[in-house]
């Protein structure tokens, strides 16, 4: 029996020592920041970022932005001219009045952008933007022809050109203005 008592005593002492040791380790460990579980988790690996633009590229991006800001607005205005025609008045003259300034804008923008001198690294991007302006100009021309001859096929053609132009502008934006659209 005394042997059993000794064993029990040793066991109790060991358990107490282990508890104290664990407590000491816990106290000595640096405190981690407590984060609420499900709202801060962002476990994806960082995606490789494109290299920052060089000074020459920045200058080109800034110059093109001046055109792009108005081109974006004009592109949306062209969609709205079509929406208004279809849903409100079916007035070809009103449609023509809306489209004429946009046709001029895109015609002029194509010329202006074409004459810009991008750094060699952005020649493809530059070409895409020139093409986008041209597509918009052609779309506006098709819509104007529709106001003259009433051939609704022209509106379908214009729509397809607009979609292609919009996608081209996005591709350019990916390179030059990556902060262009925020979560909405």
């Amino acid at each position: 029996m005394p042997g059993a008592r000794s064993l029990l005593l040793v066991g109790v002492v060991l358990a107490l020592a282990a508890t104290m040791g664990a407590a000491w380790l816990h106290e000595m460990r640096p405190q981690s920041v407590v984060k609420p579980a499900s709202q801060t988790v962002s476990t994806r690996a960082e995606k490789p970022q494109s290299p920052a633009l060089t000074a020459d590229e920045e200058r080109f991006a800034t110059a093109l932005w001046a055109v792009h800001r108005d081109a974006t607005r004009s592109a949306v205005a062209m969609s709205f001219a079509g929406i208004a025609y279809q849903t409100e008045n079916r007035d070809a003259r009103a449609l023509a009045r809306s489209i004429e300034p946009l046709a001029k804008f895109f015609h002029d923008a194509e010329i202006e952008v074409r004459t810009m001198s991008p750094p060699p690294s952005l020649s493809k991007t530059h070409g895409q933007y020139v093409e986008a302006m041209g597509l918009y100009a052609n779309a506006a021309a098709e819509m104007l022809k529709f106001t003259e001859d009433g051939d609704s096929q022209r509106l379908d053609v214009a729509h397809r050109l607009d979609v292609r132009a919009s996608e081209d502008m996005l591709r350019v934006g990916e390179v030059l203005w990556p902060g262009q659209y925020k979560p909405h």
Binding site: V34, K35, P36, S38, Q39, T40, V41, S42, R44, K47, Q49, S50, T62, W65, H68, R69, T72, R73, A75, V76, A77, S79, F80, G82, I83, A84, Q86, T87, L155, D156, H159, D162, V163, A165, S166, E167, M169, L170, R171, G173, E174, W177, P178, G179, Q180, Y181, K182, P183, H184
Partner: protein, 332 residues
């Protein structure tokens, strides 16, 4: 006797008409479909500062308050999939990725037709699309739903057009950085998105809605003007777990609806956003059946409506919210 019979007759007729009205009313109510509903994570905006999404949850360094302790959140872009009998309805359509992924700092995007396929649906079978509003991250991919009729509020279109033609360039700006718009009236309505809206109009597949509209028995559009954008709209859907209300960005956050906080202020009148929350409380009897577009807790137990979830294409998540009687589960 004859006179008495004549005196009784109007009462008899009235009673009979009332009885018939009750009968037909009940029958009409019984005919209302009970719909099934799923939620698709179209994509996820990563590492968004919490304060940019919910001002009252802004991170305060060193603060011990739980509401101020979260620096960033990942925001899902949720799309509602609703099946009512043979009708397949989408509420919002996410955005269409071209080559501008890094613009938005987003991840987990997959094409909507592929995501629908993963749920066992065909994009060509979508009959109706209700967009909560026309921002680029909610009204994309419309051309990939060739047979769907689009429902958009006239007020939404009118307000964009007004802003586009405003003389002050900041107010009519559409693009954000550098030096462009941020929460101004035309901000976020990008050319591709609006051209796809026009594409639906051009093909005769758009309904321009003025306020409230029942698009199927019991499935009702409610205006929520200025609750996020000028022409925001909600969608009430009858289901086996009670009515759901899909809110797009008028209901950006479930926690915000529960705790009465504003969220995702863009072209938003916060008073109208709170009134939109109230509408959900009134229609559904609480906040649990309000379906939020960007709730960070989506697809977890902390947003109970969406907890029956799984990971699908490209890491995007899906949830089965409720099934109509006889509808089989689509959860893998």
């Amino acid at each position: 006797m004859g006179r008495r019979a004549l005196r009784i007759r109007p009462f008899t007729w009235t009673a009979a008409i009332a009885a018939l009205a009750c009968l037909f009313g009940a029958a009409a109510h019984a005919q209302q479909p009970v719909c099934s509903a799923w939620l698709i994570e179209s994509s996820r905006f990563m590492n968004v500062p919490f304060g940019a999404f919910m001002p009252d949850r802004a991170f305060v360094p060193g603060s011990t308050k739980p509401e101020s302790s979260i620096p960033t959140v990942d925001l899902p872009v949720n799309v509602g999939v609703i099946k009512c009998g043979s009708e397949l309805i989408l509420y919002d359509t996410g955005w269409k990725q071209q080559e501008y992924l890094k613009m938005t700092g987003s991840d987990h995007w997959a094409p909507l037709p592929d995501q629908l396929k993963a749920l066992g649906f065909n994009a060509a079978d979508v009959t109706k699309v209700v967009i909560g509003h026309a921002h680029w991250d909610h009204a994309g991919q419309l051309s990939d739903l060739p047979n769907a009729v689009l429902y958009v509020q006239r007020e939404e279109l009118r307000a964009i057009e007004w802003a586009l033609n405003y003389p002050e360039p900041h107010i009519r700006a559409i693009n954000s950085d550098p030096g462009g718009c941020y929460r101004t009236p035309a901000c976020g309505y990008m050319p591709l998105t609006i051209e796809e809206v026009y594409g639906k109009v051009l093909k005769g597949k758009a309904v321009i809605v003025d306020g409230e509209m029942e698009i199927l028995p019991g499935v009702r559009i409610h205006p929520a003007f200025r609750a996020h954008t000028a022409g925001s709209q909600l969608l009430e859907v009858p289901t086996a777990i009670g009515k759901l209300v899909f809110g797009s960005d008028a209901f950006s956050s479930y926690e915000a609806i529960r705790d009465w906080m504003t969220a995702n202020v863009q072209q938003t009148d916060t008073v109208q956003q709170f009134l939109a929350y109230e509408k959900c409380y009134k229609i559904t009897g609480g906040y649990n059946n309000c379906v939020a577009a960007h709730e960070p807790l989506s697809y977890t137990d902390k947003y109970p409506l969406t907890k029956n979830s799984w990971v699908a294409l490209n890491g995007g998540r899906m949830a089965e919210i409720t099934l109509a009687p006889g509808e089989k589960s689509r959860k893998p």
